[in-house]
């Protein structure tokens, strides 16, 4: 599926999608790229942008926006602007750790399960389905308590949030990769590798892995936004990172709830807007990429189960290859 005739830069996920897009679609993609870039830059340069530290406290509490504190201060005396900026950094850490962990585990399980089949496959599918169907937030809460027992340092908090999110994501990666693996298993190039005598590990690692992971960039973007929402929800419910360890938008919003009742809007509106904007950007990006890819590969409930009939059914269409070529040309 690699279109080797084009230079590498044009084949990179986001850039190749930008080339394929037209009109409105392109507008949404560009908006997504801009907001996401803004988010990443904020996270990267947080120490330079934020005037104060995230755990720096001031004697002025609940002060409305002013010259010294452009977005005001919270009841605890934190500077709202600084904490919102630092929050981007925490979010990036959590996304990276969570998504890397879940890709690593989910892809490995999906490959093995889809390729080997049999009872292992059945068990893994039932377990993944059970976890997938359950409200993800509840699982993440229980996980985060189990890991951190309620109190957490910065990296401890980041890892416990990330691992809690990972548990929820693994079934998703598992499903997508497993479905792809089963489809690819019936392709001639895998059969010829078997005939030549390649080992199962080699077939999985070389032939299937490369083809099955083609859709990962877009799952990555969609899951990044989910990771932010889950992190914020954990923080909001009080199972997240302590304010002295790192800035976290959900925690700030939790404490802003009582402020809101008293008409103090600045403590909640800014971190909340940061969440909305970041998730919006990531979702626009992921959505546009999704629409530009093969719609058939979008995760759906029965996608993984249907190909079980593959031996009797006609060989699945190599539709994705055809489609990508068609769109790319």
């Amino acid at each position: 599926m690699a279109r080797k005739d084009q230079p590498l830069i044009r084949r990179l996920p986001v850039i190749s999608h930008l080339n394929k897009s037209v009109g409105l679609q392109r507008g949404m993609l560009v908006a997504g790229i801009v907001i996401t870039a803004l988010f990443l830059i904020t996270a990267l340069f947080a120490p330079l942008i934020a005037p104060y530290g995230y755990s720096q406290r001031f004697p002025v509490s609940q002060e409305p926006p002013s010259g010294a504190h452009i977005w005001g201060t919270t009841a605890g005396g934190y500077d709202v602007f600084s904490r919102t900026i630092w929050g981007a950094q925490t979010a990036v850490y959590v996304i990276v750790v969570a998504v890397l962990l879940s890709i690593f585990i989910g892809v490995a399980l999906g490959l093995v399960s889809g390729y080997l089949g049999g009872w292992l496959d059945r068990i893994l599918v039932v377990v993944a389905d059970a976890i997938y169907a359950f409200p993800t937030l509840l699982l993440a809460i229980v996980m985060s308590i189990a890991i951190s027992r309620g109190q957490s340092s910065m990296w401890g908090g980041i890892f416990s949030a990330a691992i809690s999110i990972t548990v929820v994501f693994i079934p998703q990666y598992f499903r997508v990769i497993r479905a792809e693996t089963i489809r690819l298993k019936a392709e001639p190039f895998v059969e010829s590798a078997m005939v030549v005598g390649a080992s199962s590990v080699r077939i999985m690692a070389r032939h299937i892995y490369k083809n099955a992971t083609r859709t990962l960039p877009l799952i990555f973007t969609l899951n990044a936004s989910e990771a932010i929402l889950t992190l914020a929800a954990l923080g909001f419910l009080g199972f997240g990172i302590e304010p002295s360890s790192a800035a976290e938008w959900g925690y700030d919003l939790n404490h802003a709830q009582t402020d809101a009742t008293a008409g103090i809007w600045w403590t909640g509106v800014f971190p909340g807007a940061a969440i909305v904007l970041t998730v919006l950007g990531l979702t626009l990006l992921g959505e546009s990429m999704n629409d530009l890819n093969d719609p058939r590969l979008r995760g759906r409930r029965r996608a993984g189960k249907a190909p079980r009939t593959a031996p009797t059914a006609p060989a699945p269409l190599p539709a994705d290859a055809a489609l990508t070529k068609e769109v790319a040309s």
Partner: protein, 362 residues
């Protein structure tokens, strides 16, 4: 919140067709599907059981800083929390198999009573939110499909993403700022005024669903009060789900608008409006109904946050409380109930899908 990748099946033709070999295919499928409910519940209950044991024990959580270590150990021993985890696990399995869920540790309620009381509040919230979601999602989704790739479609798609991107607690905060604090129209939190709450709870055999109780007792003042309290939570949670419905309806109506029979209708001179509302809409509903059933997990997860935001004393609100108290028994009871709800909904959804569409079979 796995909704965004959960795109509905756009086109049945892409699924490999498989005819059932005999007339018993459907019955067998339904049976297997029914039996799958049990491992689902079993896996979730087991998972939560062991995760909760890692978190510590309720006695340390409640009294850890007030009792000397030896007395603490004594109490833990009396409660049986120092026994091997596997022993406790099998004892627990035995109990729930006989329908005995025990009593909550922190407030000594029968778990079944606790579930019934708070479950009714959550059910009320879920129904209200579902109504908002349907009222918002379906017409807007049809509009977006009708105006496909024009600016109203683009605006609506961004709106749908915004609904999804806004955490319930932030939506709640904004709603409170505008409608409760700013305009002073609606109450900030709770399910009813204290006086009304007491009145409704004192009814003979209350359902726990306040508007229903108020209607039955003919207490119109209480009904108005309950309705006022219900508006903001219903909107906060309903818009989240409504955004998902909007996308679903849009994708599916666009899918059916491309079908031959719609094209045939168009060539006969049927208006575009009528094509969307009559021809394309109903067939598009089938996948929508099945996917909507799957949104129950999103709705329940959102309910936890909504209830905490608005101090709506339902299962989600209580769950956060019980988790902090490490009340194993209560948390396991709530999780078991949610697992049953989720597993049953998924089963019903699959059955409906199988009955409607003969291509859906194992």
């Amino acid at each position: 919140m796995t909704t965004l990748i959960e795109a509905p099946p756009e086109d049945g033709e892409l699924l490999p067709l498989k005819k059932s070999k005999s007339g018993g295919g459907l019955g067998k499928y339904l049976l297997i599907r029914f039996l799958l409910i049990f491992p689902t519940i079993f896996i979730l209950v087991t998972l939560v059981f062991f995760l909760m044991r890692i978190t510590g024990d309720p006695i340390t959580a409640a009294l850890g800083d007030r009792l000397p270590p030896d007395q603490l150990a004594q109490r833990i021993h009396e409660a049986g929390y120092d026994r091997p985890v596997l022993v406790q696990y099998f004892e627990y399995l035995g109990q729930i198999a006989t329908g005995n869920f025990g009593r909550t540790i922190s407030d000594n309620l029968l778990v079944t009573d606790m579930l019934a009381t708070y479950g009714a509040a959550t059910l009320e919230l879920a129904i209200n939110a579902l109504v908002v979601a349907l009222v918002v999602g379906i017409p807007l989704g049809m509009l977006a499909a009708y105006k496909r790739d024009k600016w109203p479609d683009a605006v609506l798609r961004v709106v749908a993403i915004l609904f999804y991107a806004t955490p319930v607690f932030f939506a709640g905060l904004l709603l409170k700022l505008v409608f409760s604090v700013g305009l002073g129209w609606l109450p900030v939190a709770g399910r009813a005024k204290t006086a009304n709450e007491i009145a409704l709870n004192q009814l003979a055999s209350p359902t726990g669903i306040y508007w229903l109780d108020a209607l039955r007792s003919g207490n119109m003042a209480a009904l108005g009060d309950v309705a006022q309290h219900a508006v903001l939570p219903a909107i906060a949670l309903g818009l989240l789900t409504g955004g998902v419905f909007l996308r679903l309806v849009r994708t599916n109506v666009i899918g059916t608008l491309n079908k031959d029979y719609v094209e045939a209708g168009r060539s006969r001179g049927v208006s575009e409006y009528r094509l969307v509302t009559k021809h394309a809409y109903k067939p598009a509903l089938i996948p929508i109904i099945t996917v909507m059933g799957l949104q129950i997990a999103l709705l329940l997860g959102g309910a936890v946050l909504t209830e905490t935001t608005f101090e709506w004393k339902g299962l989600g609100f209580q769950l956060a409380h019980y988790l902090t108290a490490r009340d194993f028994v209560a948390v396991q009871g709530i999780v078991a109930l949610l697992a049953v709800i989720v597993a049953l909904t998924n089963f019903i959804v699959d059955v409906v899908a199988a009955l409607i569409d003969p291509r859906v079979r194992y």
